[in-house]
């Protein structure tokens, strides 16, 4: 659903056969260095900005004229198309996993919660940026209502789109889950989110790159580890393309 040309996947697979550089890249030392750097960047960012540090918000005049859709931009699934046609009247968002009170919310329920409106910049891993006004409840409100258990370490976002034959999903740690600008958006620039941008619900994880902002949201799941989630790396692009789970750079 996000931000990468198809060839990146093919190239990633082709990489296995390449020469000496690929060997260096795949070596245990390189992988552990890269992993240490990723954890280091997350720690440094959190130390410098604080766990609740906000990204800049823009004025309406500073928005981009349109908002690029990337990755999955349409969903062929008949149920989705039927729901799209009737304003997602039967769409629900499930809150499940390590919570005391699992919940199932309709779009009307989500719109009835206290709302946050934010005009923020969306940065794709490819390098481009778009600016839009998003509205929705803070994820923290839902997590508090469902009473997340103490052993939960990550929040998984389940999505309706399928890419390269796999279900798209993403995840964040509890710091980003409880960040004030982490919202479940249902509207973009004052209108329901268009299909290409993730209708009817899309996560906003403002301190990270676009592929973390899960679109076509169906469920929010609290887990203690990634062991039984996808291929265990915490997200679709992390599993498929080796992209960093902490996408703050």
């Amino acid at each position: 659903m996000v931000d990468l040309p198809r060839r990146s996947l093919l190239a990633g697979i082709a990489a296995l056969g390449a020469g000496a550089c690929a060997k260096i890249n795949e070596s245990e030392t390189t992988r552990s260095l890269v992993g240490a750097a990723e954890d280091g960047h997350r720690a440094v960012h959190r130390a410098l900005a604080g766990k609740q540090g906000l990204v800049p918000e823009y004025t309406r005049a500073e928005r981009s004229p349109t908002f690029k859709g990337n990755g999955t931009v349409t969903i062929a699934n008949p149920f989705y198309q039927e729901q799209l046609a009737k304003g997602f009247a039967d769409w629900t968002l499930e809150v499940r996993g390590l919570v005391e009170t699992p919940m199932r919310l309709t779009l009307a329920d989500i719109r009835a919660l206290p709302q946050r409106t934010q005009i923020t910049r969306h940065d794709c891993v490819e390098g481009w940026s778009a600016i839009g006004e998003w509205q929705g409840p803070q994820l923290s409100a839902l997590l508090d209502a469902a009473k997340v258990r103490a052993e939960a370490k990550f929040i998984i976002f389940r999505c309706a789109d399928v890419l390269y034959g796999r279900d798209y999903y993403e995840s964040v740690d509890m710091v980003d889950a409880y960040h004030p600008q982490t919202i479940i958006a249902h509207s973009l620039n004052g209108e329901p989110i268009p299909e290409k941008n993730g209708a009817p619900l899309r996560m906003r994880i403002e301190r990270q790159l676009g592929y973390k902002h899960a679109k076509y949201l169906t469920a929010i799941e609290a887990v203690a580890s990634f062991d039984n989630v996808g291929q265990g790396k915490g997200g679709f692009w992390e599993d498929v393309g080796g992209y960093q789970w902490y996408a703050g750079i």
Binding site: A14, S129, I131
Partner: protein, 231 residues
């Protein structure tokens, strides 16, 4: 011939390796979206001020298109690059290399001084750097290398929460990205000239490894004693 300080030599080679990795992985990252914009946003090639060529894979890290791997290398090599820059600035200020060899006088900036530097190609061992060398090295140390660090940090969506002022100063994220690209090619230009001139006098390369074949000669003028002084 006069010796290079150990700090200078150590930094020079670590930095050289970091810059090569950063530049080549940066070309892969450029290939991911080959358009540059000014301002905060930009995604439509119609709004681009520059459509960059697709860099061939022989010039990139890795040697095929893989954005995830390129990003891993790029932000890993950014650490020795940025920490190294901090280190060499501290060392240059502490050991006097900066004051002696890089600080320019107003007279160095006159066309006459520049012309004289080019004509005489002075700046050999004993005389210290000529005005052109001082201006170029000063521009690389004082402007281009720090600009790479700051524009690189500004592009990071996580870092912006720590320093929103950085984006303001640089004119927005896409401006920072454009400046990052421009500065990288300016550094590449310096790199090419630097290597050609060093190859023209290979002893300079040896001196950057060993520190110089001999100790400072007694005949060297006193103020420059014990200091590196070649291009």
């Amino acid at each position: 011939m006069i010796r290079h300080a150990l700090s200078t030599r150590l930094w020079h080679w670590i930095n050289a390796a970091a810059i090569i990795v950063l530049f080549m992985s940066g070309l892969t990252i450029s290939n991911a979206h080959r358009y540059l914009y000014w301002g905060d946003y930009g995604f439509d090639p119609k709004d681009a001020w520059l459509a960059v060529i697709k860099f061939p894979t022989w010039a990139t890290i890795p040697q095929h298109y893989n954005l995830a791997v390129a990003r891993d290398w790029h932000i890993l090599a950014a650490w020795p690059f940025a920490i190294g820059l901090l280190f060499i600035w501290a060392a240059m200020l502490a050991n006097g290399h900066f004051r002696r060899n890089l600080v320019t006088k107003p007279a160095d900036w006159t066309p006459g001084a520049v012309l004289a530097s080019v004509k005489s190609h002075s700046g050999g061992a004993a005389q210290g750097y000529n005005p052109v060398q001082k201006i170029l090295y000063g521009g690389v140390f004082g402007v281009l290398l720090p600009l790479m660090v700051f524009t690189g940090l500004a592009i990071s969506p996580g870092f912006q929460a720590a320093a929103p002022w950085l984006l303001e100063v640089l004119g927005g994220r896409q401006s920072a990205r454009s400046l990052h690209f421009i500065a990288s090619w300016a550094i590449f230009g310096f790199f090419v000239v630097h290597i050609l001139l060093a190859l023209a006098n290979w002893r300079l390369i040896l001196a950057m490894i060993t520190g110089g074949g001999r100790k400072a000669e007694p005949s060297a003028p006193a103020p420059d004693k014990g200091e590196p002084a070649h291009g």
